[in-house]
Amino acid sequence: MANDPIQQFQIVEIFSFGEIGGMEFAMTNSSVFMIAAVAVISGFLMGATRGRTLVPTRAQSVAELLYSFIANTVRSTTGTEGMKFFPFIFTLFLFVLTCNLLGMFPYFFTVTSHLVVTFALAMAVMTMVLVVGFARHGVRFLELFVPHGVPKPILPFITLIEVISFLSRPISLSLRLFGNMLAGHIVLKVFAGFVVTMGAAGVVGAVGGVLPFAMTVILTAFEFLIAGLQAFVFTVLTCVYLNDALHPHH
Protein backbone atom coordinates (compact mmCIF):
# COMPACT_ATOMS: atom_id res chain seq x y z
CA MET A 1 0.00 0.00 0.00
CA ALA A 2 1.42 3.37 -1.07
CA ASN A 3 0.32 5.03 2.14
CA ASP A 4 2.79 3.16 4.32
CA PRO A 5 5.71 5.52 5.03
CA ILE A 6 8.07 2.65 5.85
CA GLN A 7 7.40 0.66 2.73
CA GLN A 8 9.72 2.84 0.63
CA PHE A 9 12.72 1.51 2.56
CA GLN A 10 11.87 -2.09 1.80
CA ILE A 11 14.68 -3.98 0.14
CA VAL A 12 13.21 -5.92 -2.75
CA GLU A 13 15.13 -8.86 -4.10
CA ILE A 14 15.34 -8.95 -7.88
CA PHE A 15 17.29 -12.17 -8.17
CA SER A 16 19.44 -14.09 -5.78
CA PHE A 17 22.98 -15.33 -6.26
CA GLY A 18 22.36 -17.90 -3.55
CA GLU A 19 23.69 -18.29 -0.05
CA ILE A 20 27.30 -18.25 1.02
CA GLY A 21 27.96 -19.24 4.60
CA GLY A 22 24.36 -18.69 5.57
CA MET A 23 24.32 -15.17 4.09
CA GLU A 24 22.15 -14.51 1.11
CA PHE A 25 23.64 -12.35 -1.62
CA ALA A 26 21.14 -10.91 -4.05
CA MET A 27 20.58 -8.26 -6.64
CA THR A 28 18.13 -5.89 -4.98
CA ASN A 29 16.56 -2.50 -5.63
CA SER A 30 19.30 -1.05 -3.42
CA SER A 31 21.96 -2.59 -5.68
CA VAL A 32 20.24 -1.17 -8.74
CA PHE A 33 20.39 2.35 -7.33
CA MET A 34 24.00 1.98 -6.22
CA ILE A 35 24.86 0.96 -9.78
CA ALA A 36 22.70 3.80 -11.09
CA ALA A 37 24.58 6.26 -8.88
CA VAL A 38 27.94 5.05 -10.18
CA ALA A 39 26.63 5.19 -13.76
CA VAL A 40 25.23 8.70 -13.30
CA ILE A 41 28.40 10.04 -11.64
CA SER A 42 30.93 8.51 -14.01
CA GLY A 43 28.71 9.04 -17.04
CA PHE A 44 28.18 12.69 -16.25
CA LEU A 45 31.75 13.50 -15.29
CA MET A 46 33.29 11.61 -18.21
CA GLY A 47 30.76 12.99 -20.67
CA ALA A 48 31.05 16.53 -19.38
CA THR A 49 34.84 16.57 -19.62
CA ARG A 50 35.11 14.74 -22.94
CA GLY A 51 35.86 17.96 -24.81
CA ARG A 52 38.58 19.02 -22.32
CA THR A 53 37.90 22.53 -23.57
CA LEU A 54 39.88 25.47 -22.30
CA VAL A 55 36.70 27.50 -22.08
CA PRO A 56 34.40 25.01 -20.38
CA THR A 57 30.99 24.03 -21.64
CA ARG A 58 28.12 24.22 -19.17
CA ALA A 59 28.39 20.58 -18.14
CA GLN A 60 32.16 20.84 -17.90
CA SER A 61 31.92 23.84 -15.60
CA VAL A 62 29.60 21.87 -13.32
CA ALA A 63 32.11 19.02 -13.21
CA GLU A 64 34.96 21.45 -12.59
CA LEU A 65 32.96 23.28 -9.92
CA LEU A 66 32.27 20.03 -8.06
CA TYR A 67 35.94 19.11 -8.35
CA SER A 68 37.22 22.50 -7.18
CA PHE A 69 34.66 22.65 -4.38
CA ILE A 70 35.77 19.35 -2.85
CA ALA A 71 39.43 19.99 -3.68
CA ASN A 72 39.27 23.31 -1.81
CA THR A 73 37.48 21.68 1.11
CA VAL A 74 40.12 18.96 1.34
CA ARG A 75 42.98 21.42 0.97
CA SER A 76 41.67 23.90 3.51
CA THR A 77 40.86 21.18 6.06
CA THR A 78 43.80 18.82 5.73
CA GLY A 79 46.45 20.83 3.92
CA THR A 80 48.22 19.81 0.73
CA GLU A 81 49.16 16.35 2.09
CA GLY A 82 45.46 15.54 2.23
CA MET A 83 45.19 15.95 -1.56
CA LYS A 84 46.56 12.40 -1.88
CA PHE A 85 43.20 11.25 -0.55
CA PHE A 86 41.22 13.56 -2.79
CA PRO A 87 39.96 10.81 -5.16
CA PHE A 88 38.56 8.88 -2.19
CA ILE A 89 36.88 11.93 -0.67
CA PHE A 90 35.54 13.09 -4.02
CA THR A 91 34.15 9.60 -4.64
CA LEU A 92 32.60 9.58 -1.18
CA PHE A 93 30.99 12.97 -1.66
CA LEU A 94 29.61 12.21 -5.10
CA PHE A 95 28.37 8.77 -4.09
CA VAL A 96 26.52 10.05 -1.04
CA LEU A 97 25.21 13.12 -2.87
CA THR A 98 24.00 11.14 -5.86
CA CYS A 99 22.37 8.44 -3.71
CA ASN A 100 20.63 11.16 -1.68
CA LEU A 101 19.44 12.98 -4.77
CA LEU A 102 18.33 9.83 -6.62
CA GLY A 103 16.21 9.10 -3.56
CA MET A 104 14.32 12.32 -4.20
CA PHE A 105 12.71 10.85 -7.33
CA PRO A 106 9.31 9.33 -6.59
CA TYR A 107 9.41 5.52 -6.45
CA PHE A 108 13.22 5.60 -6.35
CA PHE A 109 15.04 3.82 -3.58
CA THR A 110 17.30 5.81 -1.25
CA VAL A 111 20.51 3.82 -0.74
CA THR A 112 21.69 6.10 2.08
CA SER A 113 18.53 5.54 4.09
CA HIS A 114 19.95 2.23 5.28
CA LEU A 115 22.16 2.30 8.32
CA VAL A 116 24.28 -0.59 7.11
CA VAL A 117 25.33 1.41 4.04
CA THR A 118 26.14 4.64 5.88
CA PHE A 119 27.88 2.70 8.64
CA ALA A 120 29.97 0.84 6.09
CA LEU A 121 30.99 4.15 4.53
CA ALA A 122 31.80 5.60 7.96
CA MET A 123 33.86 2.51 8.83
CA ALA A 124 35.71 2.83 5.54
CA VAL A 125 36.57 6.40 6.54
CA MET A 126 37.64 5.40 10.06
CA THR A 127 39.70 2.49 8.73
CA MET A 128 41.45 4.86 6.37
CA VAL A 129 42.07 7.31 9.21
CA LEU A 130 43.57 4.58 11.41
CA VAL A 131 45.71 3.12 8.62
CA VAL A 132 46.99 6.51 7.53
CA GLY A 133 47.53 7.65 11.12
CA PHE A 134 49.56 4.62 12.15
CA ALA A 135 51.39 4.42 8.83
CA ARG A 136 52.55 8.04 9.05
CA HIS A 137 53.12 8.44 12.76
CA GLY A 138 53.35 4.89 14.15
CA VAL A 139 52.60 4.67 17.85
CA ARG A 140 52.84 8.45 18.15
CA PHE A 141 49.47 8.58 16.42
CA LEU A 142 48.03 7.67 19.83
CA GLU A 143 49.15 11.10 21.05
CA LEU A 144 45.95 12.22 19.33
CA PHE A 145 44.19 11.10 22.50
CA VAL A 146 46.55 12.95 24.83
CA PRO A 147 46.08 16.68 24.30
CA HIS A 148 48.89 19.06 25.21
CA GLY A 149 48.62 21.62 27.94
CA VAL A 150 46.15 19.69 30.09
CA PRO A 151 46.84 19.58 33.88
CA LYS A 152 48.22 16.19 34.96
CA PRO A 153 45.43 15.22 37.40
CA ILE A 154 42.67 15.41 34.79
CA LEU A 155 44.74 14.06 31.87
CA PRO A 156 43.44 10.46 32.26
CA PHE A 157 39.86 11.65 32.12
CA ILE A 158 40.53 13.84 29.10
CA THR A 159 42.25 10.94 27.38
CA LEU A 160 39.30 8.68 28.17
CA ILE A 161 36.91 11.27 26.75
CA GLU A 162 39.07 11.63 23.64
CA VAL A 163 39.06 7.86 23.12
CA ILE A 164 35.30 7.66 23.55
CA SER A 165 34.84 10.60 21.21
CA PHE A 166 37.05 8.91 18.63
CA LEU A 167 35.18 5.63 18.91
CA SER A 168 31.81 7.34 18.60
CA ARG A 169 32.81 9.07 15.40
CA PRO A 170 31.78 6.29 12.99
CA ILE A 171 28.49 5.96 14.85
CA SER A 172 27.67 9.66 14.74
CA LEU A 173 28.90 9.95 11.16
CA SER A 174 26.71 7.11 9.91
CA LEU A 175 23.69 7.83 12.10
CA ARG A 176 23.58 11.48 11.02
CA LEU A 177 23.30 10.64 7.33
CA PHE A 178 21.04 7.64 7.87
CA GLY A 179 18.74 9.53 10.26
CA ASN A 180 18.42 12.56 8.05
CA MET A 181 17.58 10.56 4.96
CA LEU A 182 15.22 8.19 6.76
CA ALA A 183 13.35 10.83 8.74
CA GLY A 184 13.09 13.20 5.80
CA HIS A 185 11.60 10.57 3.53
CA ILE A 186 9.19 9.37 6.21
CA VAL A 187 7.96 12.89 6.94
CA LEU A 188 7.60 13.60 3.24
CA LYS A 189 5.63 10.42 2.76
CA VAL A 190 3.42 11.06 5.79
CA PHE A 191 2.46 14.53 4.61
CA ALA A 192 1.91 13.32 1.05
CA GLY A 193 -0.24 10.54 2.52
CA PHE A 194 -2.37 13.13 4.34
CA VAL A 195 -3.23 14.72 1.00
CA VAL A 196 -4.60 11.43 -0.31
CA THR A 197 -6.38 10.59 2.96
CA MET A 198 -8.03 13.99 3.22
CA GLY A 199 -8.92 14.03 -0.48
CA ALA A 200 -10.78 10.79 0.02
CA ALA A 201 -12.75 12.30 2.91
CA GLY A 202 -15.01 14.48 0.74
CA VAL A 203 -15.12 18.15 -0.26
CA VAL A 204 -14.07 19.61 3.10
CA GLY A 205 -11.18 17.19 3.25
CA ALA A 206 -10.15 17.99 -0.32
CA VAL A 207 -10.04 21.71 0.50
CA GLY A 208 -8.18 21.03 3.74
CA GLY A 209 -5.81 18.81 1.81
CA VAL A 210 -4.21 21.94 0.40
CA LEU A 211 -2.35 22.38 3.69
CA PRO A 212 -0.47 19.06 3.72
CA PHE A 213 0.07 19.49 -0.02
CA ALA A 214 1.79 22.85 0.56
CA MET A 215 3.75 21.22 3.35
CA THR A 216 4.85 18.46 0.98
CA VAL A 217 6.08 21.02 -1.52
CA ILE A 218 8.04 22.86 1.15
CA LEU A 219 9.44 19.63 2.57
CA THR A 220 10.50 18.48 -0.89
CA ALA A 221 12.60 21.61 -1.33
CA PHE A 222 13.91 21.15 2.20
CA GLU A 223 14.83 17.54 1.44
CA PHE A 224 16.87 18.62 -1.57
CA LEU A 225 18.76 20.96 0.74
CA ILE A 226 19.27 18.15 3.25
CA ALA A 227 20.46 15.81 0.49
CA GLY A 228 23.21 18.21 -0.51
CA LEU A 229 24.02 19.36 2.99
CA GLN A 230 24.37 15.88 4.49
CA ALA A 231 26.63 14.80 1.65
CA PHE A 232 28.77 17.85 2.33
CA VAL A 233 28.75 17.32 6.11
CA PHE A 234 29.82 13.71 5.62
CA THR A 235 32.65 14.89 3.38
CA VAL A 236 33.81 17.69 5.66
CA LEU A 237 33.84 15.42 8.71
CA THR A 238 35.81 12.87 6.72
CA CYS A 239 38.34 15.61 5.97
CA VAL A 240 38.46 16.63 9.62
CA TYR A 241 39.08 13.04 10.74
CA LEU A 242 41.67 12.63 8.02
CA ASN A 243 43.36 15.77 9.27
CA ASP A 244 43.64 14.10 12.69
CA ALA A 245 45.43 11.21 11.05
CA LEU A 246 47.80 13.52 9.17
CA HIS A 247 48.44 15.97 12.03
CA PRO A 248 47.59 14.24 15.30
CA HIS A 249 49.36 16.81 17.51
CA HIS A 250 46.75 19.39 18.20
Partner: protein, 182 residues
Protein backbone atom coordinates in the same frame (compact mmCIF):
# COMPACT_ATOMS: atom_id res chain seq x y z
CA UNK B 1 -8.98 6.45 12.12
CA UNK B 2 -9.83 3.53 9.91
CA UNK B 3 -7.00 4.58 7.60
CA UNK B 4 -4.51 4.57 10.42
CA UNK B 5 -5.34 1.09 11.56
CA UNK B 6 -5.25 -0.14 8.01
CA UNK B 7 -1.85 1.47 7.49
CA UNK B 8 -0.52 0.01 10.68
CA UNK B 9 -1.91 -3.35 9.72
CA UNK B 10 -0.23 -3.29 6.36
CA UNK B 11 3.04 -2.16 7.86
CA UNK B 12 2.84 -5.12 10.17
CA UNK B 13 2.07 -7.33 7.20
CA UNK B 14 5.03 -5.94 5.24
CA UNK B 15 7.21 -6.40 8.28
CA UNK B 16 6.04 -9.96 8.61
CA UNK B 17 6.98 -10.63 4.98
CA UNK B 18 10.53 -9.34 5.41
CA UNK B 19 10.95 -10.91 8.81
CA UNK B 20 11.61 -7.64 10.62
CA UNK B 21 9.58 -4.65 11.70
CA UNK B 22 11.80 -2.05 10.13
CA UNK B 23 13.60 -2.55 6.77
CA UNK B 24 16.83 -0.70 7.67
CA UNK B 25 17.32 -3.08 10.61
CA UNK B 26 16.56 -6.21 8.63
CA UNK B 27 19.87 -8.02 8.95
CA UNK B 28 19.03 -10.48 6.18
CA UNK B 29 19.56 -7.73 3.60
CA UNK B 30 22.93 -6.60 5.00
CA UNK B 31 25.21 -8.99 3.09
CA UNK B 32 23.74 -7.99 -0.26
CA UNK B 33 23.91 -4.29 0.52
CA UNK B 34 27.49 -4.50 1.75
CA UNK B 35 28.53 -6.57 -1.24
CA UNK B 36 27.02 -4.15 -3.71
CA UNK B 37 28.28 -1.15 -1.83
CA UNK B 38 31.79 -2.57 -1.97
CA UNK B 39 31.46 -3.34 -5.68
CA UNK B 40 29.91 -0.03 -6.72
CA UNK B 41 31.96 2.20 -4.41
CA UNK B 42 35.12 0.34 -5.36
CA UNK B 43 34.33 0.71 -9.05
CA UNK B 44 33.58 4.39 -8.66
CA UNK B 45 36.78 4.90 -6.68
CA UNK B 46 38.73 3.09 -9.40
CA UNK B 47 37.17 5.21 -12.16
CA UNK B 48 37.67 8.35 -10.10
CA UNK B 49 41.32 7.82 -9.24
CA UNK B 50 42.29 6.44 -12.66
CA UNK B 51 40.27 8.53 -15.08
CA UNK B 52 37.93 11.19 -13.78
CA UNK B 53 39.98 13.05 -11.17
CA UNK B 54 43.17 13.16 -13.30
CA UNK B 55 41.17 14.38 -16.26
CA UNK B 56 39.34 17.20 -14.46
CA UNK B 57 42.49 18.07 -12.51
CA UNK B 58 44.39 18.11 -15.80
CA UNK B 59 41.86 20.40 -17.42
CA UNK B 60 42.01 22.85 -14.53
CA UNK B 61 45.79 22.71 -14.41
CA UNK B 62 46.08 23.18 -18.18
CA UNK B 63 43.89 26.22 -17.92
CA UNK B 64 45.91 27.63 -15.05
CA UNK B 65 49.15 27.02 -16.96
CA UNK B 66 47.70 28.54 -20.09
CA UNK B 67 46.51 31.61 -18.22
CA UNK B 68 49.87 31.95 -16.49
CA UNK B 69 51.69 31.54 -19.82
CA UNK B 70 49.44 34.05 -21.50
CA UNK B 71 49.99 36.52 -18.70
CA UNK B 72 53.74 36.04 -18.91
CA UNK B 73 53.58 36.47 -22.70
CA UNK B 74 51.51 39.61 -22.28
CA UNK B 75 54.01 40.91 -19.73
CA UNK B 76 56.87 40.17 -22.14
CA UNK B 77 55.09 41.91 -25.01
CA UNK B 78 54.36 44.87 -22.80
CA UNK B 79 58.03 45.16 -21.86
CA UNK B 80 58.93 44.95 -25.54
CA UNK B 81 56.43 47.66 -26.37
CA UNK B 82 57.79 49.87 -23.59
CA UNK B 83 61.29 49.37 -24.93
CA UNK B 84 60.17 50.21 -28.45
CA UNK B 85 58.43 53.33 -27.18
CA UNK B 86 61.53 54.39 -25.26
CA UNK B 87 63.72 53.77 -28.31
CA UNK B 88 61.34 55.71 -30.50
CA UNK B 89 61.25 58.59 -28.07
CA UNK B 90 65.02 58.64 -27.87
CA UNK B 91 65.32 58.64 -31.67
CA UNK B 92 62.75 61.38 -31.83
CA UNK B 93 64.67 63.47 -29.30
CA UNK B 94 67.90 62.87 -31.21
CA UNK B 95 66.30 63.83 -34.49
CA UNK B 96 64.85 66.94 -32.89
CA UNK B 97 68.24 67.91 -31.51
CA UNK B 98 69.83 67.27 -34.89
CA UNK B 99 67.20 69.28 -36.70
CA UNK B 100 67.69 72.07 -34.21
CA UNK B 101 71.42 71.97 -34.81
CA UNK B 102 70.99 72.04 -38.57
CA UNK B 103 68.60 74.95 -38.31
CA UNK B 104 71.01 76.78 -36.04
CA UNK B 105 73.92 76.12 -38.39
CA UNK B 106 71.94 77.30 -41.37
CA UNK B 107 70.81 80.36 -39.51
CA UNK B 108 74.39 81.12 -38.45
CA UNK B 109 75.67 80.62 -41.97
CA UNK B 110 73.02 82.85 -43.46
CA UNK B 111 73.68 85.45 -40.80
CA UNK B 112 77.42 85.36 -41.47
CA UNK B 113 76.82 85.56 -45.18
CA UNK B 114 74.47 88.44 -44.70
CA UNK B 115 76.92 90.17 -42.42
CA UNK B 116 79.72 89.76 -44.95
CA UNK B 117 77.62 91.09 -47.78
CA UNK B 118 76.41 93.95 -45.67
CA UNK B 119 80.01 94.83 -44.73
CA UNK B 120 80.99 94.67 -48.35
CA UNK B 121 78.15 96.93 -49.37
CA UNK B 122 78.91 99.22 -46.44
CA UNK B 123 82.55 99.44 -47.46
CA UNK B 124 81.60 100.12 -51.04
CA UNK B 125 79.13 102.77 -49.92
CA UNK B 126 81.71 104.33 -47.62
CA UNK B 127 84.20 104.34 -50.43
CA UNK B 128 81.72 105.93 -52.77
CA UNK B 129 80.75 108.46 -50.14
CA UNK B 130 84.35 109.25 -49.56
CA UNK B 131 84.95 109.74 -53.28
CA UNK B 132 81.93 111.92 -53.58
CA UNK B 133 82.98 113.96 -50.58
CA UNK B 134 86.42 114.33 -52.03
CA UNK B 135 84.94 115.45 -55.28
CA UNK B 136 82.66 117.90 -53.50
CA UNK B 137 85.60 119.24 -51.57
CA UNK B 138 87.55 119.57 -54.77
CA UNK B 139 84.73 121.31 -56.51
CA UNK B 140 84.14 123.54 -53.53
CA UNK B 141 87.84 124.38 -53.33
CA UNK B 142 87.84 125.11 -57.04
CA UNK B 143 84.74 127.23 -56.64
CA UNK B 144 86.21 128.98 -53.67
CA UNK B 145 89.33 129.66 -55.70
CA UNK B 146 87.22 131.18 -58.49
CA UNK B 147 85.27 133.31 -56.03
CA UNK B 148 88.12 135.86 -55.71
CA UNK B 149 88.63 136.11 -59.47
CA UNK B 150 84.87 136.50 -60.11
CA UNK B 151 84.55 139.05 -57.37
CA UNK B 152 87.58 140.91 -58.75
CA UNK B 153 86.05 140.83 -62.27
CA UNK B 154 82.74 142.08 -60.95
CA UNK B 155 84.38 144.79 -58.82
CA UNK B 156 86.61 145.86 -61.77
CA UNK B 157 83.53 146.15 -64.00
CA UNK B 158 81.67 148.12 -61.33
CA UNK B 159 84.61 150.39 -60.59
CA UNK B 160 85.31 150.94 -64.32
CA UNK B 161 81.65 151.85 -64.83
CA UNK B 162 81.80 154.36 -61.99
CA UNK B 163 85.22 156.00 -62.36
CA UNK B 164 86.17 155.07 -65.89
CA UNK B 165 89.35 153.13 -64.96
CA UNK B 166 90.49 150.66 -62.42
CA UNK B 167 93.69 149.25 -61.17
CA UNK B 168 93.47 145.51 -61.16
CA UNK B 169 96.02 144.95 -58.46
CA UNK B 170 94.24 147.26 -55.98
CA UNK B 171 90.90 145.63 -56.66
CA UNK B 172 92.31 142.12 -56.12
CA UNK B 173 93.84 143.24 -52.88
CA UNK B 174 90.54 144.81 -51.73
CA UNK B 175 88.58 141.69 -52.68
CA UNK B 176 91.01 139.42 -50.95
CA UNK B 177 90.77 141.57 -47.83
CA UNK B 178 86.96 141.53 -47.96
CA UNK B 179 86.90 137.80 -48.40
CA UNK B 180 89.27 137.27 -45.58
CA UNK B 181 87.31 139.63 -43.34
CA UNK B 182 84.12 137.69 -43.79
Amino acid sequence: MAETTQTAGEAAQAAAESGSAFPPFDASTFPSQLLWLAITFGLLYYLMSRFIAPRIGGIIEDRRDRVANDLAEAERLKTETDEAIAAYEQALAEAKAKAHGIAQDTRDKINADLEAKRAEVDAELAEKTQAAEARIDEVRAAAMAEVGTIAGDAAEAVVTKIIGSAKRADIDKAVSTALDGR
